[in-house]
Amino acid sequence: MADIIATNETILVVGGGISGMTAAIEAAECGKQVILVEKNPAVGGRVSQLYKYFPKLCHPSCGLEINLRRLKANKNLRLLTMTEVTEVSGEPGNYSVTLKTAPRYVNENCTACGACAEVVDAEFDSEHNYGLSKRKGAYLPNLMAFPQRYVLDPRIIGTPDATKAKEACKYDAIDLDMQEESHTLTVGAIVWATGWKPYDANKIQPYGYDRIANVITSVEFERMMDPHGPTGGKLLRPSDGKEAKDIAFIQCAGSRDRNYLKHCSRICCMASLKQTTYVREQYGDEGKSSVYYIDIRAIDRIDDFYQKVQADETVTFIKSKVAKIEEDKETGNPVLHGVNTEGYHRYATPHDLVVLAIGMEPSVPAGDFPIKVSVNENGFIEQDEANGAIFAAGCSADALDVNRAVQNATASALRAIQVVNQVAGTEG
């Protein structure tokens, strides 16, 4: 990593999700020098954990494949994984940035042959599947993972597993002595695209995510639907592994709520509408979806998707913020209590499975941002002159769907280019 070349005409992009990749690739394809850092072992971010996109119901990995090809082909773009930004100082056109790279314990010799994973015994919760399944202590983060290179979980270092892995590798790709590295470099502009995390469902106490097995989150549901996900594409109840056919979707789970996130996370309505189509796809008329909502926010052109779902007689909409969920001890069914406010109808309805349309919490380190930027009380980075040449992209800027995140990231790339072009101009 010592060979990173960066100047004050270089653009640093922080975060390798869809927004960061877009900002980096778009800028690089304009001929700019770009460094893209990602704290995970592979790029792709949240979208790589999605089964389908709304409203087209197409597969995120398809776009990811294209972006990966663009990334592989572009010589202006340098990718650093397992790397985070620890310090930033300076001003537009001349920032000094300190990067911290965690040891992967696997070097570029790795051919992704998988021999190490075969011999390692230790298993850990799979990050890719939100802990719904296990993965080995030596692993490839996912099938689309780029760099296509294995990782050793730090928790196996110093254990016999680590030595076994090393011995299993014919290509001397495993380096157990790898240490954390730190590098300081100069860049002209910074695009901040650290994305979002699902709001901690345990905090939404009335819904008992921590107490009731058959209450799950929308991101977990999404993994379940993936044919190569933890349940092989089946909707299985955590409590008893039975197929769930009567499914409740609770909107604004953590969003639009002063007790949790006060902003609207924008994507959840469309996400749940999309997920009702999964239920239909699985069971046809046998399945049943109930959406408990405050307002259905199927914004602009894609409102027609909402209209299509409304026409599906297996899907019902209840205008209600569910008050609380209790578990039916016999059946393990979550029972939803509340009032449908359209005409005041009280309900206590059992479902096989409850999906919390979980809110979007920005992953902006609001408190300890490495340099002064203006962050609003929702935790997103405000567009502000005072931020200098630090530009938020995607869900660091607002709760955005993929399409808008990419749009926003493309804009941020230009803002960064303006800065480095100015540097280039003034420096002849």
Binding site: R256, N259, I294, V322, A323, V339
Partner: protein, 208 residues
């Protein structure tokens, strides 16, 4: 009391929301409701509300003054605070319900024989007199609040209860004479009188 009602009707014409904002405890919050209904679903007495809180808020906006103020729904509040704890907009719903009940009572619109209303009034009068609650008098008053015959029935029904309480020294027959009290009853009454004056004055001078 109903003259007060006339005054308010005059003052706010048909703008009930403004009236509530001006005269009802925490009434300003009503406009912040987004009709999610979590309060209505959270109330332990929910099934007994003819109009649950969120609907009452909507009725206030819709100017349904009489329907709201004569309703006995607010009187169903057990002060469990579930609604406040869960409201996504932080509305102090319990207090708004109390405020509406009190306001309705002040205007003489509250349903006359609503049991909780009667109890609440008696409770207040009881404590306002000596500064501390006289549980026995309150209890008896309660039994007879629906008239003598009813009272005997209730009293008999609760006789065993009463005896138990006495046996376990958790009720004192001597309270009929004397009983607990603050020493400075004069001061206490002065405070309450003044507080009431201030409140009345505010309601009167507020220009919708």
């Amino acid at each position: 009391m109903s003259t007060v009602n006339q005054v308010m009707v005059e003052k706010y014409r048909n703008d009930f929301l403004k009236e509530v904002k001006a005269n009802v405890e925490e009434g300003d919050w009503v406009q912040m409701c987004m009709q999610c209904g979590v309060c209505s679903g959270s109330c332990p007495f929910g099934p007994y509300w003819e109009h649950p809180p969120q609907e009452i808020f909507m009725m206030i906006r819709a100017g349904k003054r009489d329907e709201v103020l004569t309703s006995d729904s607010m009187w169903m509040c057990t002060s469990c605070y579930n609604c406040i704890a869960r409201c996504p907009r932080e509305l102090p719903i319990t207090h708004i319900m109390h405020g509406l009940a009190h306001y309705a009572d002040r205007l003489g619109l509250a349903p006359k024989n609503q049991p909780t209303r009667k109890f609440a009034i008696k409770f207040w009068n009881n404590l306002a007199k000596k500064g501390r609650v006289n549980e026995l008098k309150l209890g008896l008053a309660l039994y007879f609040m629906n008239g003598f015959v009813e009272g005997i029935k209730t009293a008999l029904k609760n006789q065993k209860l009463g005896l138990n309480m006495v046996k376990t020294k958790r009720m004192n027959v001597m309270e009929m004479v004397g009983g607990h009290s603050v020493k400075d009853t004069g001061g206490l009454h002065a405070i309450l009188k003044k507080a009431r004056e201030i409140e009345e004055a505010k309601a009167a001078e507020f220009k919708g």
